[in-house]
Symmetry: C2
Subunit: 337 residues, 2 copies
């Protein structure tokens, strides 16, 4: 299936993200300047914490999608740069708040900001960056772009609250899981691609690029959720099990439970309630997910969305920008972490 | 001094806030409809929690200032209503996040939302309302208004982080305290009055009303900080001591410490560090604040800002709207809770 969905991939030394960063180097440099300037403040804790999270290890995936969408639609400009920085700030704000909510002490393998500066600072600097995102969007001069991103920000928060209400709900239907990840993850990718395309000044490919963004986001989140149980690899990465420990019902769990025996279902029903979880449960959960091929089934689902993302770009004229977006869709279902 | 600053006050059965609510009843009703509609969501926890905090006990002080400023400048319209609701949502979002940060379990004498729905829901619903505020502002069709409120939102977060960094800092200069409260409180009153005035379509009295808003906000916060030590009353209200328990350095503490003996300063230096605070310290702190007349001095400072707020409106033509704004400035330095 990966073969079918992946006709453009040749043997390449660099990842599509590296190639996007090279292709969009000038734009990205303008975005980095804005990120740095707009996280400045006379209150030292703000640039300290912002710099730690904004500068540390981020792939700038959403700005890259924004910039590439703008170019694919007609061209990037100063508004695109402000928008790209705004999108990264919104993403960073949600990371800071997620850290507090998830009670995780690690983020991208480093101590979470809250482990260094505390919960209060993480909440407030998240609020600051969120507000700065809107100041940047005002600079685009486009009420339409502001509307797209403010609506997306509401939807993200709705998705996060929905996810919170669904913790431990083992009967969560696949469709409701998809509603949650469409809101909490895909909405920002969709808004990035849509607003990026609009910022070019052309309206021609806006819907196609928005559709690309949404499906890319769905694929991205499903892969993330599969990787939380080690994906289809036998080796277990260091950040495995976060969702499990929080009782977050994700696609691998839904599939494994559906395909399991009555005993397995009894296990899931106990283990996904954090109150009744035992230390050995994660290892057993990973075993069940492997036995039922639930990780592979999740990845197949992600590949389907990656395919939809690529199909959405069918009518766009060929360009380097279109190509990196196509490659990115393939890459996001092949990534190992 | 209250006499001098308060030439317009006659014997009145109702408070200026009641009178504002009556004078602006039609506008306020439109605002309430927006608040209710825009806190709706298919995710039940969002309207449940929003309704609890948005509907419960709020005086709608910021929307009232926004509406009165619009009328005083030329007239209120649909944009003013959306803006007024946006301002209330921003305020509510900061309350929800403050509750988590301050670790207080009560808000306006009722259990804080987080005591019922938890910290995570309070953070996320705050984010949701903040995003909805920007969606509402997009509806005003004014990039200028969006710029004013996004900038104010950044400044509020900066002020909150500044306050966080200043916890327990007994040598906090009065000027730095004023910088903090200007950011965390006065900025939103200033933005409400400024954007409210702009929403009328006239630019004539915008600066005067913005100046009013800022000084009203400063007066309001200083009174709040004095009331946290019981104000100048001998009776101690139920919500006294929150700032003290958190080690928040406010004007009454700054003045009492400055005017106190070496022993008093040693007390403050120990007691304002939450780690070394003892159970009887609050009672002693209140005693010192009374002895040094620090509560009265704080109220005098608040009255000076209320005077500046009123003076800012000097050149506005007389109207019921101007009058309620003048009365509000007097009222906010006379309130008992």
């Amino acid at each position: 299936m990966a073969q079918i969905l992946n006709p453009n991939t040749k043997a390449q030394a660099t990842s599509p993200i590296d190639r996007m960063q090279t292709l969009l180097a000038d734009d990205l440099s303008a975005v980095e300047t804005i990120l740095s300037t707009e996280s400045a403040s006379p209150v030292a804790m703000i640039p300290d914490l912002s710099h730690y999270i904004v500068s540390a290890g981020g792939k700038r995936l959403r700005p890259l999608v924004t910039l590439a969408a703008a170019h694919a639609a007609g061209g990037a400009n100063a508004a695109t740069h402000n928008l790209s920085a705004a999108v990264e700030f919104i993403h960073t704000a949600t990371l800071l708040h997620d850290d507090v909510i998830d009670e995780s002490d690690l983020r991208r393998g480093k101590p979470a900001a809250k482990a260094i500066w505390g919960n209060s600072a993480s909440i407030l600097v998240g609020d600051f960056l969120f507000a700065q995102a809107f100041t940047l969007m005002v600079r685009t001069g486009s009420l339409e772009i502001l509307g797209i991103l403010s609506r997306a920000s509401s939807v993200i928060a709705e998705g996060e609250v929905h996810q919170l209400s669904a913790l431990g709900r083992n009967d969560l239907p696949t469709e409701e899981y998809l509603t949650i990840i469409e809101a909490k993850t895909a909405a920002l990718f969709e808004a990035s691609a849509r607003a990026g395309a609009l910022s070019s000044g052309s309206e021609t490919h806006v819907e196609a690029l928005a559709h690309y963004g949404k499906n890319l986001g769905l694929a991205f989140q499903i892969v993330d959720d599969a990787l939380d149980y080690g994906g289809t690899e036998s080796a277990i990465g260091k950040s495995v099990g976060d969702d499990f420990r929080e009782g977050k019902i994700t696609l691998p769990v839904i599939i494994a439970r559906r395909r399991g025996s009555d005993d397995d279902r009894a296990f899931w029903d106990r283990a996904m309630m954090v109150e009744t979880q035992k230390p050995d449960d994660l290892a057993h959960a990973i075993r069940l997910i492997r036995q039922t091929d639930a990780a592979q089934a999740s990845l197949n689902e992600a590949r389907a969305y990656a395919g939809l993302a690529k199909a959405a770009l069918m009518n766009l004229p060929d360009s380097d920008y279109k190509q990196v977006l196509l490659d990115l869709a393939d890459f996001c279902v092949r990534r190992e972490n």
